[in-house]
């Protein structure tokens, strides 16, 4: 969507593009801003994703070094970790249980690959967007 906004007697060209289900890019003249929905649906400004760290498709995110990651969609306490370094993950496999909002949440993998690093342990608090598992 492209619009022109008149602000302080000056016109600005504004372009809004939905990059993925929850990521939006707003370009004002030559400046780009990125916004994402957090777990309670609030829109927050985020750092610009680079070609390397942004995966367009489903199935995890690619980080700067090109590795795949499993991130937490919600904040809560990890009550169990079901996988370890070196495990071969399959899509649908349970990786951890997270207690949040008085509910038990099974975190499952949606990607396949060998686990390079497990970043969480039992009892740990994780925030929305925190990396739980890094895959090779």
């Amino acid at each position: 969507m492209k619009v022109k906004i008149n602000f302080g007697n000056k016109f600005y060209r504004v372009e809004i593009i939905k990059l993925s289900e929850d990521l939006v890019r707003v370009r004002v003249e030559n400046n780009e801003f990125f916004f994402k929905k957090n777990e309670i649906g609030e829109i927050t400004r985020v750092e610009p994703p680079t070609e390397k760290n942004f995966s367009w498709g489903r199935g995890g995110y690619l980080n700067v070094s090109g590795k795949k990651e499993i991130k937490s969609l919600i904040a809560g306490n990890i009550s169990s970790v079901e996988v370890k370094k070196g495990d071969l993950l399959k899509p649908g496999q349970k990786v951890a249980t997270l207690i949040a909002m008085k509910m038990e949440n099974e975190i499952i993998a949606e990607v396949s690959g060998e686990i390079a690093e497990v970043k969480i342990k039992e009892g740990q608090f994780v925030n929305t967007g925190d990396i739980l598992i890094i895959l090779k």
Binding site: M101, M103, E106
Partner: protein
């Protein structure tokens, strides 16, 4: 609504979660006459002998902001069914227990399956319906509809009323 019935099962929630992971349709219900290892939050056990109502329902995919209210919605749904159908005065002890005259009559356990989005939410309900008595350890803490009302109730009818109420509340309650 698809109902999968068992005479006995380890836990209705365990099976419902497994079915949900495999992409079972929303409103699929797993019900059993008894559970050998019924459980609640933090894996506490739930006394599940014959006579009680034990079921788990797979809900349609919901947004995270609705998910936050799901424990309250579930407790409200079950309390409403008890109040409307039996003129009882249930007390909701948040997040997920229902009491009658200071004794626990029902427990609710919600488990979600989360990947890149919320894949499924399973609501498990254990309701003490036609249970005559409890072991001594639970005797002062638990009660049943039969003990409170002096008569048996129809478990399947309560199940249907509960699902109906869930559909109503989730439809009107989602933003």
């Amino acid at each position: 609504m698809k109902i999968i019935k068992f005479q006995t099962i380890v836990s209705t929630n365990l099976l419902a979660k497994k079915l949900a992971r495999k992409g079972a349709r929303p409103w699929t219900v797993v019900i059993s006459e008894e559970q050998s290892s019924g459980y609640g939050r933090k894996k506490s056990s739930w006394f599940s002998p014959r006579g009680g109502l034990y079921f788990s329902v797979i809900l349609p995919k919901i947004e995270i902001r609705t998910l936050q209210a799901l424990t309250m919605i579930s407790a409200f749904v079950l309390a409403k069914v008890l109040k409307d159908n039996f003129s009882l005065e249930p007390f909701i002890k948040l997040p997920n227990d229902i009491f009658l005259r200071d004794k626990k009559v029902a427990g609710i356990l919600i488990e979600n399956v989360i990947g890149n989005e919320i894949k499924a939410s399973v609501v498990g309900i254990g309701l003490n319906t036609n249970i005559d008595s409890f072991p001594s350890a639970l005797n002062n803490k638990a009660t049943s509809l039969k003990i409170e009302m002096g008569r048996e109730v129809d478990n399947l009818e309560i199940l249907e009323e509960t699902i109906k109420e869930f559909k109503r509340q989730l439809k009107s309650g989602s933003p």
